[in-house]
């Protein structure tokens, strides 16, 4: 009986459907490799799945994974928070980009006055601006009934172009030769919190306090959603907004707040990622950064539960680090994007498949059981 209950439980179904999605993603990635590369596909796929551990050594790879996982986990938390009210925060990319930009600007211009507190101020700045950007689509949805998906897409473009505009207008921030932001001061980056001791490679290879902060954020978000009245109201609005309205929940407030908090998390993710000295820079760009969409993959893969999101974030970071090695075999590292897209695609219906399979298992067992009874 206990076993049956376990098989029917939602948690198992969720884990199962995520695994199905991942399997489909990797399988299709492998098929694409086979079609394009023939025999080279096998070592390339091996490098991808092993995450580059055999090639680059344990400490360096693990540190890289920790570093890549930070924005993914926080973005995943952001998307899943908005998802609690059935809103899809597609604007995560833009919020992330502007959050990172503002954090860099603060640490470039304020390091002399703020000193070692710079990274905290920069994180707060990035968080606030992310929330501000997400507030607009939320308010437009609540008061003017504008489709949130569309307004978020528009905000993505505005954010990307706005950052490029700000870079073009401020020569103090922009490194003209590469048209991206200057590297921030060593003292203004996130502290290491001992992670460079755990991973004894040059400068910790990017592993820093970010991963610890991301895990703490996950715990806080879990607490807010599961253990507070506010979180309960948000979930009510998502599950049945008419019932929530009837029970006295202010629906508009729930939408706006969930979007704003989600945007704050996205901005925070950007700040955490870009406050590292030798990382990719915020640059003049006319294409939307893809990180927000990857964050959505993480949220969906993690079934919008904080624990799931943390695991999914680590997994996607693992695949991304493995994907860097694809270039050694003559493949574009965009394969990782394809795999992630396929994972999102299969996430959109993998719960249905998992439900069908689970039902079959259950009915088979039930049939066995009833046979036993009749005997």
């Amino acid at each position: 009986m206990k076993k049956e209950k376990f098989i029917r439980s939602a948690a198992l179904k969720n884990v199962f459907s995520s695994l199905i999605a991942v399997a489909i993603g990797l399988l299709i990635g492998f098929v694409v490799l086979l079609m394009c590369g023939g025999r080279m596909a096998f070592p390339a796929m091996y490098a991808l799945i092993t995450g580059g551990f055999p090639l680059a050594g344990f400490a360096k790879t693990a540190a890289r994974i920790c570093y890549y996982a930070v924005p993914l986990i926080v973005l995943g938390l952001s998307v899943s928070f908005a998802f609690k009210t059935e809103n899809l925060n597609l604007g995560a990319s833009g919020q992330y980009w502007v959050g990172g930009f503002v954090a860099i600007v603060i640490s470039l211009s304020g390091y002399e006055t703020l000193g070692s507190l710079t990274w905290i101020v920069a994180c707060i700045g990035g968080t606030l601006i992310g929330g501000l950007i997400a507030l607009l689509p939320g308010a437009m949805k609540a008061y003017r009934n504008v489709n949130i998906v569309i307004s978020c897409i528009m905000m993505n473009y505005l954010a990307t172009y706005g950052v490029s505009l700000a870079l073009n207008l401020n020569p103090k921030i922009m490194d003209k030769t590469n048209s991206w932001t200057y590297a921030i001061d060593k003292g203004a980056t996130l502290p290491k919190w001992g992670l460079d001791k755990i991973f004894p490679v040059h400068g910790g290879a990017g592993a820093n306090a970010g991963i610890i902060i991301a895990l703490l954020t996950g715990i806080i978000i879990w607490f807010v959603i599961e253990k507070t009245v506010f979180g309960y109201e948000l979930k009510m609005c998502g599950l049945n907004r008419h019932a929530a309205n009837y029970a006295g929940v202010n629906e508009n407030r729930a939408i706006i707040l969930s979007m704003t908090i989600s945007g704050m998390l996205s901005g925070f993710a950007g700040a955490l990622y870009y406050l590292e000295s030798n990382t990719s820079h915020i640059s003049v760009s006319s294409t939307i950064p893809g990180q927000g969409f990857t964050g959505m993959a993480v949220a969906l893969l993690g079934m919008t539960h904080p624990v799931g999101v943390i695991l999914a974030g680590l997994f996607v970071a693992y695949i991304q680090v493995g994907g860097i090695n694809l270039q050694a075999y003559g493949f574009a590292s965009e394969l990782v994007d394809i795999i992630i897209a396929v994972i999102i695609y299969s996430c959109s219906f993998s719960q249905v498949i998992a439900g069908v399979i689970g039902k079959k298992l259950f009915t088979a067992r039930q049939a066995e059981g009833s046979e036993g009874d009749s005997r």
Binding site: V146, F293, L335
Partner: protein
């Protein structure tokens, strides 16, 4: 005067793909399937059209028409993935569309590098028709519509008119609308809801694939993994046009005008004199659409069953 004519000619180049993509998207949305994946469809269509032109150049207008056809076919194939997920598997339609949007550019980079050695697909653009014999003599209108134009302009108008007639005046169109508003009622009178929705999504794929070719070929000589957000603009054109052909036409012209400013501001003396950054002009279409959406959003004209997977047993 020359600038005005130039402006209108450019505007047509930017409006045509929007009209076609939004008309296609209208079919999909009216049948009750939300399709955010228009961008991905356009990318795949443009990519395959450009590949075709890269491989078989030099057949004059015929190769342009063939490129449009290959765009349509690839758009249909790509959108069938969306149809499969959202109709067969009752998927969350927004998520499936976004996934397809994400996959399309990466796939074009991947395939392009393997076929071509690089992600850009270059092609020869010699499809511009300088002038049409008699009609180009008409003052003003002749200059805009019959000089320095592409065949795609008239194909697009034809596609729009056909689309408008089909959705409003034919049995199939009525069935599509019924499936979008009340699929259970449609099913009860013998309409095959799933098949109608499949057809609508495939029509959408063909239209958007062609729109991708119509965007990339006249305005460029290479395809480089993106269609500059046109698919997303087309989605907001549909919402702004309230899911009706006439509205879609008006909304596309509005967006076409703002896009034109972004593209040719440096050729207009007054605007060039302001010395504003290019990104300001690029932001205009999105700002305008946000403002217009917030003052005209009207859910009464939205298809009632929009975004809901079809459940036979639901009431």
């Amino acid at each position: 005067m020359r600038i005005i004519i130039f402006f209108f000619q450019q505007m047509l180049l930017f409006t045509v793909p929007l009209i076609v993509a939004a008309t296609g998207g209208m079919f999909c949305e009216r049948s009750g399937i939300i399709n955010i994946g228009l961008e991905g469809n356009m990318i795949m269509g443009a990519f395959c059209g450009a590949l075709f032109l890269h491989a078989f150049p030099g057949m004059g207008q015929w190769s342009f028409l063939a490129a449009l056809l290959s765009g349509a076919i690839s758009g249909m194939m790509w959108s069938s993935l969306h149809a499969f997920a959202s109709i067969k598997f009752n998927a969350n339609q927004a998520i499936s569309g976004i996934a397809l949007n994400m996959a399309a550019p990466s796939l074009t980079i991947f395939i392009g590098r393997i076929l071509n050695g690089k992600q850009q697909v270059t092609f020869l653009n010699d499809f511009r028709i300088e002038s049409l014999p008699v009609f180009s003599r008409i003052p003003f209108i002749g200059d805009i519509f019959f000089r320095k134009f592409y065949v795609s302009l008239y194909i697009a108008l034809a596609l729009f008119v056909i689309g408008a007639i089909v959705i409003n005046r034919t049995r199939f169109g009525m069935r599509v609308r019924a499936c979008g508003d009340n699929p259970q009622a449609a099913d009860s009178v013998g309409i095959n809801v799933r098949r109608t929705r499949y057809l609508a999504v495939l029509i959408c794929g063909a239209y958007t694939g062609m729109a991708g070719v119509m965007l990339v070929v006249p305005t460029s000589t290479e395809f480089n993994t993106s269609v500059a957000g046109y698919g997303f603009l087309a989605v907001s054109v549909i919402i702004l046009g309230r899911w009706r052909p006439k509205g879609i036409m008006l909304a596309s012209v509005l967006f076409g005008i703002t896009k034109t400013f972004a593209a040719i501001y440096s050729a207009i003396p007054i605007l060039a004199g302001l010395h504003l950054d290019a990104f300001i002009y690029r932001m205009i279409p999105f700002v305008v659409s946000l403002i217009v959406l917030s003052f005209s959003s009207d859910t009464r004209s939205e298809p009632l069953a929009s975004g809901q997977p079809y459940d036979k047993g639901a009431r």
